[in-house]
């Protein structure tokens, strides 16, 4: 209970992410994005990354910077070709980045399965569509379903609103999005927060992500940063 997971800077928190890592990156739209950790990643040499996140980057900031830097080998996302994802689109059409596109709920559930020790699951989502191509199907109780497998990361880079120093997290509004489920699905979860409090300040019933899912916490250096994903 006394372990202190607080890191002094975003740079320090992500310093040892290796080449080739699979990163679960939280955020949806402009909410719940670990902006400062992404800025630190732009200054970090790690390459050949696989990034799992909802959108393939928006505009020129946040994830798009890493794409421009050619640090990302593959994107696994639910929505690839938004008109604002022009950095990704250009790389993709030039064959310089790989893409796996998934239904958003299947992506969330595959990440949950990785965190929850579910070896595989059958879902009705995507039956009869490109999302089911090449996947095993099975009719269960008269309904056709697709077999889906866990999607784990080596690292989860996420954003929460508040943490205590043991790593308990709370989220605000719709800024939770993929962050809580991603926290469960990587052996190293690094969290950017707006505020860090002492253990016990967050009531047991108010904790959204229990501390055991969190290895590192850092207070974002510039809380005004805004990208989108």
């Amino acid at each position: 209970m006394t372990s202190d997971k607080v890191y002094p800077s975003s740079k320090a928190a992500i310093a040892d992410i290796p080449d080739g890592a699979t990163i679960l990156l939280g955020g949806f739209g402009g909410a719940g994005i670990p902006e400062n950790l992404l800025v630190a990643m732009a200054d970090h040499p790690a390459r050949d990354l696989t990034v799992v996140t909802n959108h393939a980057g928006f505009g020129e900031r946040g994830l798009a910077v890493l794409l421009r830097q050619r640090k990302v080998r593959k994107i696994i996302c639910s929505y690839a070709f938004h008109r604002s994802a022009f950095v990704f689109r250009e790389l993709f059409l030039e064959g310089k980045i790989e893409l796996e596109q998934l239904p958003q709920g299947t992506m969330a559930e595959r990440i949950r399965a990785a965190g929850a020790g579910i070896a595989a699951f059958y879902t009705p989502t995507g039956v009869g569509t490109q999302a089911a191509e090449g996947k095993e199907t099975r009719t269960i109780n008269g309904r056709e379903t697709v077999l889906e497998h866990p999607l784990a990361g080596d690292v989860a880079i996420i954003k929460a609103h508040r943490a205590d120093s043991t790593g308990n997290l709370t989220y605000r509004g719709t800024a939770a999005n993929f962050n809580p489920v991603m926290a469960t699905a990587a052996p190293l979860t690094i969290v950017e927060v707006e505020e860090i409090v002492d253990p016990g300040v967050i009531a047991p019933e108010s904790v959204h992500t229990p501390s055991i899912y969190v290895q590192r916490v850092v207070r974002g250096e510039d809380l005004g940063l805004r990208s989108e994903t």
Binding site: F81, G105, I111, T125, T129, T174, A176, N177, R226
Partner: protein, 231 residues
């Protein structure tokens, strides 16, 4: 927005379609609004009807857009627009949001469509070709919601048909559309096929059939889809 001048003159504007869809929602329904015209539907649902709007990025009880300057960076809908919350709202993450959706706890998903088939197949996430569109939550919502209300212009700008025997675009889900609202018609999908319920004022069932590939059944004379003066 068909290229036929008669159809064009009689076609409903997006606000008219949204108003008609809003009227169709059962009181107390839990509703997910897709991007585009669907987001307008919320404007036409009176608060007293108990309709609740959920968004797949993790909210039930989303309220109207906040006043300028009142936006909260942490409160947005699935269209990435700022929202308010109504009393009784709750928030949660994506895994829980899609557990709700996949689990059949959303009564109605209102989604834009690119094509709809005679069997109620929905195509709305991409057009053939490399580097276009995205799946997002559409496949989960289409497969998981108890009903799918689809909204589209009845034809393409070049007059090409969108209500087809079989979709030619990549599918979002099979046999899910229960009601289709276009700029000229309201069509319900039944085990016996599509039934033409209403047509835009000034048009006939034959006018709608002429721009629809599947045979449209009728069940008595279709009602009238009305247009407001305001656009």
């Amino acid at each position: 927005m068909a290229s036929d001048p008669k159809l064009e003159n009689c076609a409903l504007k997006p606000a008219d379609i949204a108003r008609r869809v809003a009227a169709e929602l059962p009181d107390g329904a839990v509703v997910n609004l897709g991007i585009g015209i669907p987001t307008l539907v919320g404007n036409y649902v009176e608060a007293g009807r108990g309709v609740m709007f959920m968004a797949e990025n993790g909210i039930i009880g989303a309220g109207p857009r906040p006043e300028p300057g009142e936006e909260d960076k942490d409160y947005i809908n699935a269209s990435r627009e700022p929202i308010t919350t109504l009393p009784g709202a709750s928030v949660f993450g994506h895994a829980d949001a899609f557990a709700m959706i996949r689990g059949g706890h959303i009564d109605i998903a209102i989604m834009g469509a690119l094509q709809v088939s005679a069997q109620g197949d929905l195509a709305n996430w991409t057009v053939p070709g490399l580097g276009k569109g995205g799946i997002g939550g559409a496949m989960d919502l289409a497969a998981g919601a108890r009903e799918v209300y689809a909204i589209m212009t009845h034809t393409m700008k070049d007059g090409g048909l969108k209500l087809l025997e079989d979709c030619t675009y990549p599918l979002t889900a099979r046999q899910v559309v229960t009601k289709l609202f276009t700029d000229i018609a309201f069509i319900e999908f039944t085990p016996d096929g599509p039934i033409l319920r209403e047509v835009a004022e000034g048009l006939t069932a034959d006018d709608v059939q002429a721009v629809s590939e599947p045979r449209l059944h009728t069940n008595g004379p279709p009602g009238a889809l009305t247009r407001e003066e305001t656009p």
